[in-house]
């Protein structure tokens, strides 16, 4: 089974969604969609035994062989783990969305098409071994998440959030493409697997540091690291199932995946370690600190996601340190990589459930403002329990999965201080300190989220809807996830053996050759170690600060709003908007004749300039064919009708004369034996004259002022210039015999290889089939554009009519 095609299964399924939505409107479309991730998940689970034993699978499919671009699906521990998260949590999210989104009021067909598109993009990212296709899927996630975040497109905030997320992540993606290209230049391959063994040579290359920084920009923007995190809180305008999926389990983790995947390539460089670990840790602290400023439930979760992503990022950075240690088994560094992957799994599970709870609270009370909420504990007992489990896991308390990974995080950060490379002995002490501070705030916001919503005083008068427990269907997914949170705590080593160790093997191939060599045993009780005392400190200080939260939370408002990164983003966007507007107004006159002057002057400038610079004039009159009688006649007709256009007093004459020009050119094609062109030209002329006549009714008469149009010297100069340029190009190309004509190649191969007789048509459908495909796509888009432009105007007119 070539599983590379499975990546496209969601995309293919998406084609049928609008149809299903229309035909089976009574059944919620989500039920059909649910089948896709469930089947994929079941299939990918069957690949687990291979990766558990440290093996991998490759399946590939050539896409553009001549450019060496192929879809290569590479399944090892790391990609399989992500694949299972994408399909598994995807299935739960779809199930949840069936109850969350109303089938009558929502445009489900749009929603699920975007969601399935996104699923394909994510599967593509985590399985691609080829850098170019990886980039392709990477940007596809940006686009599909743009559509998902802007799903309620009539709301201003949704459009703003969607645009912001796309601006930032696409910017990062483009930078990353640059990094990929540099990598491929250095290593002479697009394949990640082939780059890894070359790491030692790559690091000496001049481009190495550029590639490193560019790739990291891509990863940091996607994973919302400081200072690019600002898009994530605004992305919360998306429907909650989307937040639960994109912003907890999948898209934001793409950056983490990329860092993990490329660790073997870059770990050799100290810059990598410093940047990834440093930025990650700072993001962790920053995110957790500002989470407490938020009043919106999903806002709190967004900042907590930023913080948790930072935590995992810092661990990934620390894991790179393993490259520089001789005997890993003796040191505590080994924990970093393991903890990163382990926490990634934990985070996907508990954050998924927390987002779903935030959605349930929103759905059942009508608000997400934490100041209005409170005392929901007795009204929504199941949601409360789930929220508590998730939040306690996030705070790092036993007996929940998050406790284990947080302990390992502290271990890894402490171990960095013992590291005596890259001046870690001086600055290393910052790592555990910042990590501890971040953990304290994590503890506080976890409690803030759950207790300010569910405990305290119930204020029914402030809620838009009377609160009550969510329907069973909506609870299935979060309850299941919260069960997983508990289960992971009790069987951490099973999770470790099945998922974490194979992934660590993929991430640190320089340390291990099989998953069995990773001798890490996760224990809830690990003795009276420094980590335990740090945890006790977190709980004690965190609890104290949570208790007094109301007293000091107001101090957040003291931060000036004009000095935030968001304000910076807004002002940059505003400046570029107004700047572009002003610039456009300079040259956009609204008259087509001005634009034609621009275009034609540009053509003259470029073409004539190139001809002059490259000294390409080659005029050779020796080989000319005699000029026949018909040619002279058509030429006279051509010139005559052109002059008629120039001097015509009415539009009708002008249109007819223009048609005459077209037909004369078509006759030229006939004489010079290009029947295909002639045929097309004739039909096009006919239709465009008909179209002109249709539009004729709407055109104003040529006004009296224009009738006495004075001779314009500039326009005449441009017109003559174009004529001269085209003539020169034609004469030069006729005399140029440096290369043999390509028509010979076509003549020879058209019948043999493509089984056709008409060269033009064979080029269109076979040799240049891609061009044709995209051309008709462009044509289709243009048609839709015209419809929307004209129909939108119509509806506006109708509105005005109603208002009268």
């Amino acid at each position: 089974m070539s599983f590379v095609f499975l990546i496209f299964v969601p995309l293919l399924a998406a084609l049928f969604i609008p149809l299903l939505f229309k035909k089976f409107g009574r059944i919620h479309t989500g039920w059909f969609v649910l089948v896709v991730p469930v089947i994929l998940f079941t299939y990918y689970v069957s690949l687990l035994p291979t990766t558990i034993s440290g093996g991998n699978l490759v399946s590939e499919f050539q896409w553009i062989p001549s450019l060496d671009i192929a879809f290569v699906a590479y399944i090892d521990g790391l990609s399989l783990l992500f694949t299972l998260l994408i399909t598994g949590i995807g299935a739960l999210v779809v199930l949840y969305s069936i109850f969350y989104l109303d089938k009558h009021r929502e445009q489900l067909h749009n929603f699920y098409v975007y969601l399935l598109m996104f699923m394909t993009a994510m599967l593509g990212i985590v399985q691609s071994d080829h850098l170019i296709t990886l980039y392709l899927f990477w940007e596809l996630t940006s686009i599909s998440s743009f559509l998902l975040i802007g799903y309620w497109y009539t709301r201003d905030r949704s459009r703003f959030g969607a645009l912001k997320s796309m601006m930032i992540t696409v910017f990062g993606g483009l930078m990353m493409l640059g990094g990929f290209v540099l990598l491929s230049i250095m290593g002479d391959t697009y394949s990640i697997r082939e780059l890894i063994p070359q790491a030692a040579e790559l690091v000496t290359h001049d481009f190495f540091i550029w590639a490193l920084v560019l790739v990291l920009l891509g990863a940091f923007t996607k994973s919302a690291q400081f200072p690019f995190y600002i898009w994530l809180p605004d992305a919360m305008e998306a429907p909650t199932p989307v937040s639960a999926y994109l912003h907890s389990a999948t898209m934001v983790k793409a950056g983490l995946y990329l860092v993990a995947r490329l660790t073997p390539v870059f770990a050799i460089s100290g810059t990598w370690m410093w940047l990834v670990a440093g930025v990650g840790l700072f993001t962790m602290f920053w995110g957790s600190f500002f989470a407490l400023k938020q009043k919106d439930l999903k806002g709190i979760l967004a900042f907590s996601t930023v913080s948790q992503l930072g935590l995992i990022m810092s661990l990934l950075g620390a894991s790179a340190a393993g490259y520089h240690v001789d005997n890993i088994a003796e040191t505590t560094f080994k924990y970093a990589g393991f903890a990163a992957i382990f926490h990634l799994i934990n985070h996907a599970v508990f954050k998924g459930s927390l987002f779903m709870i935030a959605g349930i609270v929103d759905h059942e009370t009508g608000t997400r403002d934490i100041r209005k909420l409170g005392g929901l504990m007795s009204l929504m007992p199941i949601s409360f329990t789930v929220a508590m489990i998730g939040a306690f896991s996030m705070a790092g308390l036993p007996p929940f999965g998050g406790f284990l990974s947080k302990e390992m995080f502290l271990t890894a950060m402490l171990s960095l201080t013992e590291f005596d490379l890259f001046s870690m002995d001086v600055w290393g002490i910052l790592f555990p300190v910042v990590a501890w501070l971040g953990s304290v705030f994590t503890f506080i916001y976890s409690f803030y989220f759950v207790f300010h919503t569910f405990a305290g005083e119930h204020k029914p008068e402030q809620l838009p809807k009377p609160a009550h427990e969510a329907p069973i269907g909506m609870l299935i997914s979060p309850v299941f996830l919260s069960l997983l949170v508990v289960v992971i705590f009790f069987i951490p080593n099973l999770v470790g053996d099945w998922f974490v160790k194979p992934a660590v093997l993929a991430m640190q191939p320089f340390l291990y050759t099989s998953p069995d060599e990773i001798n890490i045993h996760v224990e809830a009780w690990h003795g009276p170690t420094p980590e335990l005392f740090m945890t006790l400190g977190i709980v004690a200080i965190g609890f104290l600060m949570f208790w007094t939260l109301r007293k000091w939370q107001k101090s957040y408002d003291l931060f000036p709003d004009t000095l935030t990164l968001n304000a910076l983003y807004d002002s940059v966007m505003f400046m570029s908007d107004t700047g572009a507007n002003r610039f456009s107004r300079l040259y956009m006159t609204g008259f087509i004749r001005s634009y034609l002057v621009y275009m034609f002057s540009f053509v003259i400038f470029i073409v004539l300039g190139t001809l002059f610079l490259t000294d390409a004039f080659a005029i050779d009159f020796t080989n000319l064919a005699p000029v026949g009688f018909y040619e002279v006649v058509i030429l006279i007709a051509l010139v005559g009708s052109t002059l008629t256009i120039l001097f015509s007093k009415s539009r009708l004459t002008g249109i007819i004369a223009l048609g005459a020009v077209g037909y004369s050119v078509a006759l030229f094609f006939v004489i010079f034996r290009a029947p295909d062109l002639a045929l097309t030209q004739l039909v096009i002329e006919t239709i465009s004259v008909a179209l002109f006549l249709l539009a004729f009714y709407h055109l104003p008469q040529i006004s009296r002022k224009e009738e006495r149009m004075r001779f314009r010297f500039g326009n005449a100069l441009v017109a003559i210039g174009v004529g001269v340029t085209v003539t020169l190009v034609a004469l030069s190309s006729l005399s140029q015999k440096a290369l043999p004509s390509i028509s010979e190649f076509y003549k020879e191969t058209v019948y043999k290889e493509a089984g056709g007789g008409n060269i033009v048509n064979v080029i269109l459908v076979d040799y240049r089939g891609f061009d044709t495909l995209f051309e008709i796509a462009v044509l289709g888009i243009a048609g839709i554009g015209i419809i929307t432009m004209i129909k939108l105007r119509l509806t506006k007119k109708e509105d005005q009519h109603e208002n009268k």
Partner: protein, 140 residues
């Protein structure tokens, strides 16, 4: 303003069919002699436009109750499906296949997958040009 266009209407009734037949011929002939999906599509459009000029948009809509946007979509999908069908046979994207068959009535005929692709082009061309003409024509 109502003009007497009996002559135009009578001629159109005959000419439209001639143009349509020619369009079909051109379309099928495309791979060996001048023609193809693009020109065939344009010719078909010109036949419909002629109908619209001789009668009016509403009448033509009744005769040909076609949603041209759907037609465009079907054309695009057909072209894409032909191109990607090659994946099933494990050859690079866009590889065409052809062979010669002895068909009843036609004799030795070449059947080419490029024709399906061309049919997609045909549908898109007709769909888009008619969409444009119809929307502009209906816009008062």
């Amino acid at each position: 303003m109502r003009t007497n266009d009996v002559m135009l209407q009578t001629a159109t009734k005959v000419v439209t069919f001639i143009i349509l037949m020619f369009a079909v011929h051109i379309f099928f002939a495309g791979h060996y002699t001048p023609g193809g999906g693009f020109v065939g599509g344009l010719l078909t459009t010109s036949a419909i436009v002629l109908l619209m000029l001789a009668f009016d948009i509403e009448t033509v809509k009744k005769i040909l109750p076609i949603n041209y946007v759907t037609m465009t979509a079907i054309g695009l999908l057909l072209a894409l499906a032909t191109a990607s069908a090659s994946i099933i046979f494990d050859v690079p994207f866009f590889t065409h296949a052809y062979d010669y068959f002895d068909l009843p009535l036609f004799g030795k005929t070449s059947l080419h997958s490029a024709m399906l692709f061309d049919a997609g082009v045909y549908l898109v061309v007709v769909g888009v040009t008619m969409t444009i003409i119809q929307t502009i024509g209906e816009d008062e």
